[in-house]
C-alpha cells in the first residue's frame, strides 16, 4: 500500500496530469480521469487512509488530497475543452460547403402587371375615402350610353368605337366601351353620398398594335355629395396624382367635352422635362345623368374622372409594346 505522504500525492498528481494531457480523444480522457479519480484509483485508496490518522494530520492530509483532486479535475476539464474544440474543428472542416454550388430554387409566382397597377391605384383611392365598385363587362345601351346622356344620334357615340354583341336588338348589347356604366349601376342602387372608384376591363374596336389593345383596363372615379365643386375635382385629382406619382408631379385641367359631364376637362400631369402628359378625362356629373339615376341634381352634385390602367403600367416600366400585357409570355410575366 502506498504511503500517504505529500510526495506520494505530488507524484500521483504529476502522473495523473500527464495521462490526462496526453489523452488524444474524449474516451482516453474519460479513462484517464477514471484512473486518476475513480473508485479504484490510488487517490481514492489514499483517502481511505485518512481515517487512521491523528486529527491534526487528518485535517492536513484531507486538505492536501482535496487540493490534489481539484487540480486533477481542473486539468481534466481543461483537456476536455481542448479536445472538444479540436473535435469541433475537425467536424466543421468535414462539413465545409461551397454555398454557390447548390442551385436549389425557391419558386416565386408573379402578379400580372395590370393587377399590380390596379391594386396600387385602389389602395391610393381607398386611403382617400373611396370604395371600389365593379360591374359587368357586357352592357346594355342604357348603361353604356343612354343613361350617360349619349342618345343614339349623338356624334360622341361614334367616337367610342364600340364592339357590339349578338344579343337583343342591333346595337342594344355591347362590350362596355368605358367603365362609366358602373357609375350608373352604383347610383341606381345606392343613395348619395357616393365615393367610388370602378376599375375594370373595357373594349374598343382597336386593332391590337404596339400602343392599342381591343381589351384594356380603365379606372373610373365618382363622387356624389352635397356641394361638390369643380374645385373639388381639381383638388382630388391633384391629391391622387401626388400620392401615386410623387409630390413633385403637377396637374392641370383643360376644358374638354364628354356628354356625361358638364363642365368637362382633360387632366394632364407634368413630366420631368416640364412638358405635359394627358392622363384622362373628368368633369362635373351632368344633371341629366343624375336625373337618369333618380338623384335630384338640385340637391346633389358630383364629379367623375377616368383614365387607363394599362397605360400606367406601360409608362412605369417603359414597355415598348402594350401587347405584352395580353401575350402572357412567362419570360415577360416573371420580370415583375
Amino acid at each position: 500500500m502506498t504511503e500517504l505522504t505529500q510526495e506520494t500525492l505530488s507524484e500521483l498528481q504529476v502522473l495523473a496530469e500527464a495521462a490526462l494531457t496526453s489523452s488524444t480523444n474524449l474516451d482516453e480522457l474519460s479513462a484517464a480521469e477514471a484512473e486518476a479519480l475513480g473508485k479504484k484509483s490510488a487517490l481514492t485508496g489514499l483517502k481511505k487512509q485518512l481515517g487512521g490518522l491523528e486529527p491534526e494530520q487528518r485535517k492536513e492530509f484531507g486538505q492536501l488530497i482535496n487540493a490534489t483532486k481539484s487540480a486533477i479535475e481542473a486539468t481534466a476539464a481543461a483537456r476536455r475543452t481542448e479536445l472538444a474544440q479540436a473535435a469541433r474543428l475537425v467536424q466543421l472542416e468535414e462539413e465545409r460547403l461551397d454555398l454557390t454550388e447548390l442551385r436549389e430554387e425557391v419558386k416565386r409566382g408573379h402578379y400580372h402587371l395590370v393587377t399590380q397597377a390596379r391594386d396600387r391605384l385602389e389602395d391610393v383611392f381607398v386611403a382617400m375615402g373611396f370604395k371600389v365598385a365593379e360591374g359587368p363587362e357586357v352592357e346594355t345601351a342604357w348603361y353604356n350610353f343612354e343613361a350617360l346622356n349619349i342618345p343614339d344620334w349623338h356624334p360622341a357615340r361614334g367616337s367610342f368605337d364600340t364592339i357590339f354583341v349578338d344579343l337583343g336588338e342591333p346595337e342594344e348589347v355591347m362590350l362596355r366601351s368605358h367603365t362609366s356604366p358602373v357609375q350608373i349601376r352604383t347610383m341606381e342602387n345606392q343613395k348619395p353620398p357616393i365615393y367610388i372608384v370602378a376599375p375594370g376591363r373595357t373594349f374598343r374596336t382597336d386593332v391590337a398594335d404596339a400602343t392599342h389593345l381591343p381589351a384594356f383596363n380603365q379606372i373610373e372615379g365618382l363622387v356624389i355629395d352635397r356641394g361638390i365643386t369643380l374645385g373639388d375635382l381639381a383638388g382630388t385629382i391633384d391629391a391622387f396624382v401626388k400620392a401615386f406619382f410623387g409630390h413633385d408631379v403637377l396637374t392641370r385641367l383643360r376644358p374638354s367635352y364628354f356628354p356625361f359631364t358638364e363642365p368637362s376637362a382633360e387632366f394632364d400631369i407634368s413630366r420631368a422635362d416640364g412638358s405635359w402628359l394627358e392622363l384622362g378625362g373628368c368633369g362635373m356629373v351632368h344633371p341629366n345623368v343624375l336625373a337618369n339615376c333618380g338623384i335630384d341634381p338640385d340637391e346633389w352634385q358630383g364629379f367623375a374622372f377616368g383614365f387607363g390602367i394599362d397605360r400606367l403600367a406601360v409608362m412605369r416600366y417603359q414597355l415598348d409594346d402594350i401587347r405584352e400585357l395580353v401575350n402572357n409570355d412567362v419570360r415577360f410575366l416573371r420580370q415583375f
Binding site: 419558386k107 416565386r108 409566382g109 408573379h110 393587377t115 385602389e122 383611392f125 381607398v126 386611403a127 375615402g129 373611396f130 370604395k131 371600389v132 359587368p136 363587362e137 357586357v138 342618345p151 344620334w153 356624334p155 361614334g158 364592339i163 357590339f164 354583341v165 349578338d166 344579343l167 346595337e171 348589347v173 362590350l175 353620398p193 365615393y195 374596336t205 382597336d206 386593332v207 381591343p214 363622387v223 355629395d225 356641394g227 361638390i228 365643386t229 369643380l230 374645385g231 381639381a234 382630388t236 392641370r252 385641367l253 383643360r254 376644358p255 356628354p259 358638364e262 363642365p263 382633360e266 344633371p287 352634385q301 395580353v326 402572357n328 409570355d329 412567362v330 419570360r331 410575366l333 416573371r334
Partner: protein, 788 residues
C-alpha cells in the same frame, strides 16, 4: 380643325406673341393643340419646275419618266411614281442634294436603268398640306417666270403658323377659322370682328329662276339660296388654294375650292347645283321615302330610309342627301355656267342618324352634326361666297331665297350666379360672369338676381344652365379655380369579396404561380376544340374573326397561353387567371350570365398537383365541406377529374386537361387544371375558424393501411375515418398509396397517418386501441376495406 395664324388675324388682327404660348392658350380654351407646324418656309433646294415631257419607263410599270425644266431651260430627266401630271404643269421639284423635311436626301440615282435627277414632290412631302396621293400641281398658282425659284417664293408663301386643333363635339363654333379666332380673341382680351364681305348683285331676279320649299320643318331650320351665272370652272388663285391645302383639303376647281374656303373660314357648309340640271331651279326639302334611291357624288347608289333628309327637285326626285352628300345628277362640270347655291341649317340629330346609317362622314356633315350657325353667319357666308365668285368673274342674280323651318328655341336661359359658383367652386360676381359670357358672344341681362342668358346661334350645343356654367369656367380659366377636396366623411375600403380575391392572388403567387390575363375573345371553334359546348355569345363587329366569340370558360385561353409558352421553350409553366366568363343569358335576361372565374393551369403537373392547389385554397379560405365528386367535366381527362362541390353546391372542376384537348391546342404533356366560379365560392360561406385549444398532453400517432377497392374514393375513406375517430382524432392524412400485383387487380392500399389526442388527459393504450378498432371496423363496413 386646322387653323393658320395669318387667317386668324383677319378676324383678330391683334393676335401676337410666341406661337407656343398662343397654342397653350388655345389648349386652355378647350381647343387642344395636337400639332403645331411652321409653314411657308419652303425647303432648301425645292424649286418651281415645269413638266416638259412624260413617257413610260421602258422597264417598269409603276414609275414613269418625266422631263422637267427646273429653271435653266434644260430638260432634266426624273423617274416618278405619280401619274397625275400633264405636260405643261408646274410642280415643286427637289433638286439633287435637297434634304427633305423627313430627312431623306435626294441623290442622283438610277432606277431600273434610267437616271433620276431629283424628285417631283407632293404637298405633304413639303409640309404644305395633307395630300400625299399625287404631285402637288401648281398650275395657276405660280407662273412660268418663276421657274427655278425657291418654291415658297414662287408661290408667294410667307412664313405662317399652322395649328391642328382637337375640336370637341360640343364646339360647333370652333369648326371654323372665324370661330377659333373669336375664342382666342376673347381668351386674350383683344378685339374680334368679321371683315365686311360684300358683292354687287347683277340684274335678274332669283325668283324667276329658283324656288325652295321646306316640306319638313323639323329637318331644315333655314335654307338660303342664290343663283350664280357666268361661272367659269377653272383653277383657284394661289393664295386661296394654298390656304385650303394648308388646312388639309385638296384644290379641285375654282367653284369647289371657294365652297370649301367658305366652309373652313366661316363654318357654313354649302352645296352647288348645276342650275341647268335642276328643272325650274326648284328644290323641295323633305324626308326620304323608305327605299328611295339616289346616286351620290361618289357615284354610289344609296338606298334611303325615312329618317334621312333629302333635297328633291321639282318632280320630287331626290337630288341630294340633306347635309351629307350631293347627288351626281346635278353635279357641277366643266361646262357649267349657271349655279344654284345652297346654304342650309339641318337638324343635327337627323344628320347624325343618316351619317351613321350610311357610314358616310364628310366635312359638311361633321359641322351639321354639331349644329352649325343658323343666324347671321349664314348670310355672311353667302356674301363671302358671292364676293369670291364675283372676284372670279361670276355674276349673281338679285335676291336671296331664305326659307325657314324650325330653329332652336332662343328663349334666354335663367342662370343663377350662386348655382354657377356652387358648381365651379368659385366666387365670381355677376358682372364677372356676364363679362366672360359676352366676350364669346353670349347675350346677358340681369333680372332680379339671375342672369338671362341668350345663347348665340353658333352654339347649338349650349342649352342649359350647366352648359352656361361651363362657358364661364372656360373663360375664367380652369387653372384659376382654387383646388379643394371634398369634405365628405366616407370611409374608404374594399368589399369582403375584393379582399378575398386579393388573398387568392396572394396565395397562388406565394405558391409559385404566375398570373396571366389573356383577352376574353376566342376564335370560332375554340370552345369545341376544348371539348366545351359551343354556345359562346358572338360579337356583331369583331375586329378579326379569331376574336369573335366571348369565352364561356377560361380553359381555351389558358391552353393557348401554355402552347405559346411551350413554343417559346418555357415548358412547365404554372399559371392562374381571374377573369370574367360570359355564359348565354338566362331565360328572360338580355345580358349574358357573366361570372368571375378562377383558373389554375399546371403544365407538367397532373391531377394530384391540381388537387393540392385546391387543398391550399380550401385551407386558406376555410372552405366548408369541399368534396370531389366523380364526374367527367367537359374538356377534362375523363378518368382523372372531378366536380368540386363546396357546401353542397357545384362550384367548379379539378383534375387534368383531356389529353386529346391538350393536343388539339398544341400543348405537350399533362396539364393539372382547376376552374372555380370564384364569385360564388367567395360570396358563399367560408372563412369561419373556431378556436381549438392546443393540447398540453402527449399524442398517440398511429398509421393504418387499408386495402380498398379502386372505385372507392380515398376522400370517402377519409370521411369515414374522421367520423369513426370522433373528437380524439385530431389529424388524419393520406401519406401513401400503393398498387401492386400482390394486392390484387381492382384494389389499392391507402395508408393514413393518424394522430389521437385529448385536451384534458393523456390517452391510455386502451383508449387508443378502442379508437383504432372502431376506425378499422368502419372502413371495413362502409368501404369493404381491409386492414393490411
Amino acid at each position: 380643325m386646322k387653323v393658320l395664324l395669318s387667317w386668324l388675324r383677319e378676324f383678330a388682327p391683334d393676335i401676337d406673341g410666341d406661337p407656343v404660348e398662343l397654342g397653350e392658350k388655345l389648349s386652355g380654351l378647350g381647343l387642344a393643340v395636337e400639332e403645331m407646324t411652321v409653314t411657308g418656309k419652303g425647303v432648301d433646294g425645292v424649286v418651281l419646275a415645269k413638266v416638259l415631257d412624260l413617257r413610260p419607263h421602258p422597264d417598269a410599270d409603276k414609275i414613269q419618266l418625266v422631263d422637267v425644266d427646273a429653271g435653266d431651260g434644260e430638260a432634266l430627266q426624273v423617274a416618278c411614281g405619280a401619274f397625275n401630271m400633264s405636260i405643261g404643269d408646274l410642280i415643286p421639284f427637289a433638286t439633287v442634294g435637297t434634304v427633305m423635311p423627313n430627312g431623306m436626301e435626294i441623290g442622283r440615282r438610277k432606277l431600273r436603268g434610267e437616271w433620276s435627277n431629283g424628285m417631283c414632290c407632293s404637298a405633304s412631302e413639303l409640309g404644305l398640306g395633307d395630300d400625299h396621293d399625287g404631285i402637288y400641281l401648281l398650275t395657276g398658282q405660280a407662273d412660268d417666270a418663276k421657274l427655278g425659284s425657291p418654291i415658297n417664293e414662287a408661290l408667294g408663301l410667307t412664313e405662317d403658323i399652322l395649328w391642328d386643333l382637337e375640336v370637341n363635339a360640343n364646339r360647333p363654333d370652333a369648326m371654323s377659322v372665324a370661330g377659333v379666332a373669336r375664342d382666342l380673341a376673347a381668351g386674350l382680351g383683344i378685339p374680334f370682328a368679321f371683315p365686311e364681305f360684300s358683292f354687287s348683285e347683277a340684274a335678274g331676279d332669283i325668283a324667276d329662276s329658283a324656288k325652295v320649299e321646306i316640306l319638313d320643318p323639323t329637318l331644315c331650320g333655314r335654307f338660303l339660296a342664290r343663283v350664280l351665272r357666268n361661272v367659269e370652272v377653272g383653277t383657284s388663285p394661289q393664295w386661296l388654294s394654298s390656304r385650303i391645302t394648308a388646312l388639309g383639303m385638296r384644290p379641285i376647281n375654282s367653284v369647289v375650292d371657294i365652297s370649301n374656303y367658305v366652309m373652313l373660314e366661316l363654318g357654313q357648309p354649302n352645296h352647288t347645283y348645276d342650275l341647268g340640271l335642276v328643272p325650274g331651279g326648284h328644290l323641295r326639302v323633305r324626308r326620304a321615302n323608305e327605299g328611295e334611291t339616289l346616286t351620290t357624288l361618289d357615284d354610289v347608289e344609296r338606298t334611303l330610309s325615312s329618317i334621312d333628309g333629302v333635297i328633291a327637285n321639282g318632280v320630287d326626285e331626290a337630288i341630294g342627301i340633306a347635309g351629307v352628300m350631293g347627288g351626281a345628277s346635278t353635279e357641277i362640270s366643266g361646262t357649267t355656267t349657271d349655279v344654284l347655291l345652297e346654304m342650309a341649317w339641318w337638324d343635327p340629330p337627323s344628320i347624325s342618324r343618316t351619317v351613321k346609317r350610311l357610314n358616310l362622314p364628310s366635312e359638311a356633315s361633321v359641322r351639321y352634326r354639331r349644329g352649325a350657325d343658323y343666324g347671321e353667319n349664314m348670310d355672311r357666308a353667302m356674301r363671302r361666297f358671292g364676293q369670291l365668285m364675283t372676284e372670279a368673274g361670276a355674276t349673281i342674280d338679285a335676291g336671296q331665297i331664305d326659307e325657314r323651318g324650325d330653329t332652336p328655341d332662343r328663349t334666354p336661359i335663367k342662370v343663377r350666379p350662386a348655382k354657377v359658383n356652387g358648381l365651379l367652386g368659385t366666387s365670381l360676381s355677376t358682372a364677372e360672369m356676364t363679362d366672360h359670357l359676352e366676350s364669346i358672344g353670349f347675350g346677358t341681362a340681369e333680372v332680379g338676381g339671375t342672369i338671362d342668358v341668350t345663347i348665340p346661334t353658333w352654339r347649338w350645343d349650349t342649352q342649359t344652365e350647366t352648359d352656361v356654367a361651363e362657358e364661364v369656367a372656360r373663360m375664367f380659366g380652369y387653372e384659376n379655380i382654387v383646388r379643394t377636396v371634398p369634405k365628405g366623411e366616407e370611409a374608404g375600403g374594399l368589399t369582403a369579396y375584393q379582399v378575398d380575391r386579393r388573398l387568392v392572388r396572394e396565395t397562388l403567387v406565394g405558391a409559385g404561380l404566375d398570373e396571366t390575363q389573356p383577352m376574353p375573345f376566342l376564335a370560332p371553334g375554340d370552345l369545341a376544340k376544348a371539348g366545351l359546348a359551343e354556345h359562346g355569345v358572338t360579337l356583331s363587329n369583331p375586329i378579326v374573326a379569331e376574336e369573335s366569340v366571348l369565352r364561356t370558360s377560361l380553359l381555351p385561353g389558358q391552353l393557348k397561353t401554355i402552347a405559346y409558352n411551350q413554343s417559346h421553350r418555357s415548358g412547365d409553366v404554372s399559371l392562374f387567371e381571374i377573369g370574367h366568363i360570359y355564359l348565354p343569358p338566362n331565360d328572360g335576361e338580355l345580358l349574358p350570365d357573366e361570372r368571375e372565374a378562377l383558373a389554375i393551369a399546371l403544365a407538367g403537373g397532373d391531377a394530384t398537383s391540381a388537387v393540392a392547389m385546391l387543398d391550399l385554397l380550401e385551407s386558406v379560405f376555410t372552405l366548408p365541406n369541399v368534396q370531389l365528386r366523380e364526374a367527367e367535366p367537359a374538356g377534362l381527362h375523363p378518368t382523372r377529374s372531378a366536380d368540386v362541390f363546396i357546401a353542397g353546391q357545384k362550384r367548379g372542376e379539378v383534375g387534368e386537361v383531356d389529353p386529346a384537348v391538350a393536343e388539339a391546342f398544341g400543348v405537350a404533356g399533362r396539364v393539372g387544371w382547376i376552374q372555380l366560379d370564384l364569385g360564388a365560392v367567395l360570396e358563399g360561406p367560408h372563412g369561419r375558424r373556431n378556436y381549438r385549444r392546443v393540447s398540453k398532453f402527449p399524442s398517440s400517432d398511429i398509421d393504418l393501411a387499408f386495402v380498398v377497392p379502386n372505385d372507392v374514393p380515398a376522400a370517402s375513406v377519409q370521411v369515414t375515418i374522421n367520423k369513426a375517430g370522433s373528437d380524439l382524432l385530431v389529424d388524419c392524412r393520406l401519406f401513401d398509396t400503393y398498387r401492386g400485383e400482390s394486392l390484387g387487380a381492382d384494389v389499392r392500399s391507402l395508408t393514413y397517418s393518424l394522430r389521437l389526442q385529448a385536451t384534458d388527459r393523456t390517452l391510455t393504450d386502451d383508449e387508443v386501441g378502442q379508437v383504432r378498432q372502431s376506425i378499422i371496423d368502419a372502413v371495413a363496413k362502409n368501404h369493404n376495406g381491409q386492414l393490411r
